[in-house]
């Protein structure tokens, strides 16, 4: 589904990604781990097409498309979803209205009719239960006045409604207490399927107790320095990043 070859990117004149190689197949869950400043979030943003990040080299192929040639909205319509580390507030724009517009953009892109308001509400109710979100959030503005945990759950809720093909979770666990973490993980696990790939970007192994990955990659100074299965994450938890990072000659970039 996703082929990343020698991807290099910079932000604000600073090289962050220095040659990422990664292959993700449908049905797989990959965890990207690494210390702060290693480029985890940059990778997530570059895949979603944020133009404050400049791709300086390499290729990304997504279901046969040159992903880097697509606008952010076209990537989204093609099924790439980024669960934001810091979900953005949009005052005055209703959460339901926002999500329905997003769904309709995807329908339009596929040449399907717009979703009926009644059907949409039924779908939304169902998925809200999954994420244990209060219905009152739907009548509020997008992320406005949401607690940190509500914002993160709202991201996964949007993901559940939009049913993307490639899900990228950018530090979705940060700022979540253990109960919220379990709810979020449960929501993500319900979305696991043989047609869908999930990339979980995280600093801590904790989330991976609940979303068990097929592969774990350790990122350092913009490169994947080690890959393995879920036991790699446990190793990291035990020994910290230091042991693994000795392999990487370059120091850790600051944030």
């Amino acid at each position: 589904m996703l082929e990343i070859r020698n991807l290099e990117a910079r932000v604000a004149g600073k090289d962050i990604l220095r040659g990422i190689d990664l292959t993700v197949k449908a049905g797989e869950v990959h965890a990207i781990m690494g210390p702060n400043g290693s480029g985890k979030s940059t990778l997530a943003q570059v895949l979603a097409g944020r133009d404050t990040y400049q791709v300086t080299g390499g290729t990304v192929t997504y279901n046969g498309h040159d992903l880097l040639a697509l606008s952010p909205e076209d990537r989204a319509r093609e099924g790439v979803f980024l669960a934001f580390q810091y979900p953005v507030e949009i005052p005055g724009v209703g959460n339901t209205y926002f999500l329905r517009s997003a769904v309709n953009q995807i329908h339009k892109h596929r040449g399907e009719p717009e979703v009926d308001a009644v059907d949409f509400l039924a779908l939304v109710r169902d998925k809200m239960k999954l994420l244990e979100l209060d219905e009152s959030l739907m009548t509020r503005s997008v992320n406005e006045g949401f607690s940190g945990g509500e914002k993160k759950r709202n991201e996964i809720f949007q993901m559940a409604v939009l049913e993307p093909k490639l899900c990228i979770l950018d530090e979705t666990d940060s700022g979540l207490d253990i109960d919220a973490l379990k709810i979020v993980a449960n929501g993500v696990n319900k979305l696991r399927s043989k047609d869908r790939a999930i990339i979980v970007v995280t600093h801590y192994q904790r989330l991976l107790n609940y979303i068990v990955p097929d592969f774990v990659h350790v990122l350092s100074a913009g490169r994947i320095v080690k890959s393995g299965d879920k036991t790699l994450a446990m190793e990291l938890e035990k020994d910290g990043y230091a042991g693994i990072l000795e392999e990487a000659a370059e120091g850790v970039g600051s944030r």
Partner: protein, 481 residues
């Protein structure tokens, strides 16, 4: 050029070379302004003597005034002697079908979602629909008349209800009020008049069905609305369709009077031609709008969506005289390209326990300059008065500007004034968030902007609100990316 006063004096001291009498049958008066022109306007309109006197008084006062320089807008000097102040209403050139209309204009109508029939009317196509509309209008007028509501053109009101005109004309905006109001008083062509008798609730949004007809009232328009004791009325002015006009200067006056327990809601959508991308050729819109809450517990509410004009100078205000009266001002002002807007409100609290609310949303894009200017005055008599003001500015791009000038004057210690202000930019993060959910750049901008304006849009009558949203998207097209 020199000051208009000296120019006009110079002109009036000359002999009037075109000759008053011979010209009377002509379609339009020669450019320039003097007492003879005002007599011509008044006589063409067959006005009673008191109207002519009033106009002349205004004119003589105007000669002593100078154009205001305090607004935060810049434009080349206006030559008041090059303006034609009277011209007989000329029927527009009629087109046979929409096929003859400028395709660009049709595209805009389409984006705004203007109903087909109205498109034809707006573009000046001669079809049966025009007659339909007139008959619809006639039906509604008959219904209003049954309830004792007077709703007609200003000229008709002068003919048929001189006692009301005499009583109320200039009672809120006196002819001495300001430079543009004085000019308007001297030369105004026509406008609307509305009187709601005691205890009557006007059953429909006034002018929804008439907006097409009210289109060609010209550059010096005058509106007078009176709600008698316990009456209520909601009045809509303007249209989302882009309005072009060969007259660059527009100086309208609107006066509202609310008696005991009466309520007037006045909504405006203004989309005059803003000029081209370099800012050339747009309309100067210098308007004086004021409402008088004369009676106890009366209420006047202004809602405006300003997207057009090269320059907007406009402060819909409320005089809160009656005890317990309420004034409201909800505004969205958008500037793009080289547009300039200096707009806001004045709330003058005179009566006890008077309340006012100000919500102003300014959006600046391109090289646009947007100024909020508001005054809240609590006079000594205004015990227990309260005001809440909120002024938010949204910037799109880094070439535009937003400015806020709130003036507060509180002379009664029991009065409360609250002011909140914010300035924000459309965030790159907000845009990216929307786009990552599949929205195009333009849809994202329009969604964020409409969210920003929601507080004001919800004050608009339903169908107007929908049009306003679309209008905003069209006005800001191409402002990002």
């Amino acid at each position: 050029m020199g000051t208009p006063a000296t120019d006009i004096e110079a002109l009036t001291s000359q002999e009037y070379k075109y000759g008053f009498v011979t010209d009377i049958e002509a379609d339009s008066a020669p450019p320039g302004l003097n007492e003879d022109i005002i007599r011509l306007i008044s006589s063409k309109k067959k006005e009673p003597a008191f109207m002519l006197e009033w106009r002349l008084k205004a004119y003589r006062h105007w000669l002593t005034m100078t154009e205001p320089k305090w607004p935060n807008v810049h434009y080349p000097p206006i030559d008041y002697n090059s303006i034609i102040y009277y011209s007989a209403p000329k029927p527009k050139k009629q087109l046979k079908s929409l096929d003859e209309v400028d395709p660009e204009l049709l595209k805009t109508y389409d984006k705004l979602g203007i109903p087909l029939r109205e498109r034809e009317l707006l573009a000046g196509v001669a079809v049966d629909a025009v007659f339909d509309s007139v008959s619809v209008a006639t039906t509604f007028k008959a219904k209003l008349a049954e309830m004792g509501i007077i709703f007609c053109s200003f000229s008709e009101a002068v003919q048929n209800h001189p006692e009301l005109i005499k009583k109320y004309l200039g009672s809120v905006v006196p002819h001495t009020d300001n430079f543009f109001a004085a000019l308007n008083a001297a030369v105004f062509s026509d406008g609307s008049f509305c009187y709601i008798p005691k205890g009557v609730r006007c059953p429909m949004e006034l002018s929804t069905y008439f907006r097409i007809n009210a289109m060609n009232t010209g550059q010096f328009e005058r509106t007078l609305i009176i709600a008698d004791d316990g009456a209520t009325v909601s009045y809509l002015e303007g249209c989302t369709a882009p309005m072009r006009d060969t007259n660059q200067l527009h100086a309208a006056v609107v006066e509202l009077v609310a008696h005991d327990n009466a309520e007037i809601k006045y909504s405006t959508i203004q989309n005059w031609y803003p000029g081209d991308k370099e800012g050339k050729g747009g309309i100067y819109n210098f308007v004086t709008k004021r409402g008088k809450c004369a009676g106890v517990n009366s209420k006047i509410s202004w809602t405006q969506v300003e997207t057009g004009s090269a320059i907007t100078w406009k402060y819909p205000s409320c005089l809160l005289i009656g005890d317990g009266s309420i004034g409201e001002f909800y505004s969205v002002a958008t500037v793009n390209n080289y547009q300039q807007a200096d707009t806001g409100t004045k709330m003058i609290h005179i009566g006890k326990n008077t309340r006012s609310t100000i919500v102003s949303k300014g959006i600046s894009a391109g090289h646009g300059q947007n100024t909020y200017r508001g005054a809240v005055k609590m006079l000594k008599s205004a015990a227990g008065a309260r005001n809440y003001s909120q002024c938010d500015s949204l910037l799109i791009g880094d070439q535009c500007g937003a400015h806020t000038f709130p003036y507060l004057e509180v002379k009664n210690p029991s009065a409360q004034v609250e002011h909140e202000a914010s300035t924000s930019k459309i965030g790159e993060d907000q845009l990216f968030y929307c786009r990552q959910r599949g929205m195009s750049m333009e849809d994202s901008v329009s969604m964020i902007v409409n969210g920003f304006c929601k507080q004001v849009f919800k004050e608009l009558p339903m169908e107007f609100a929908v049009e306003a949203q679309k209008l905003l998207s069209v006005s800001l097209e191409g402002s990002v990316g």
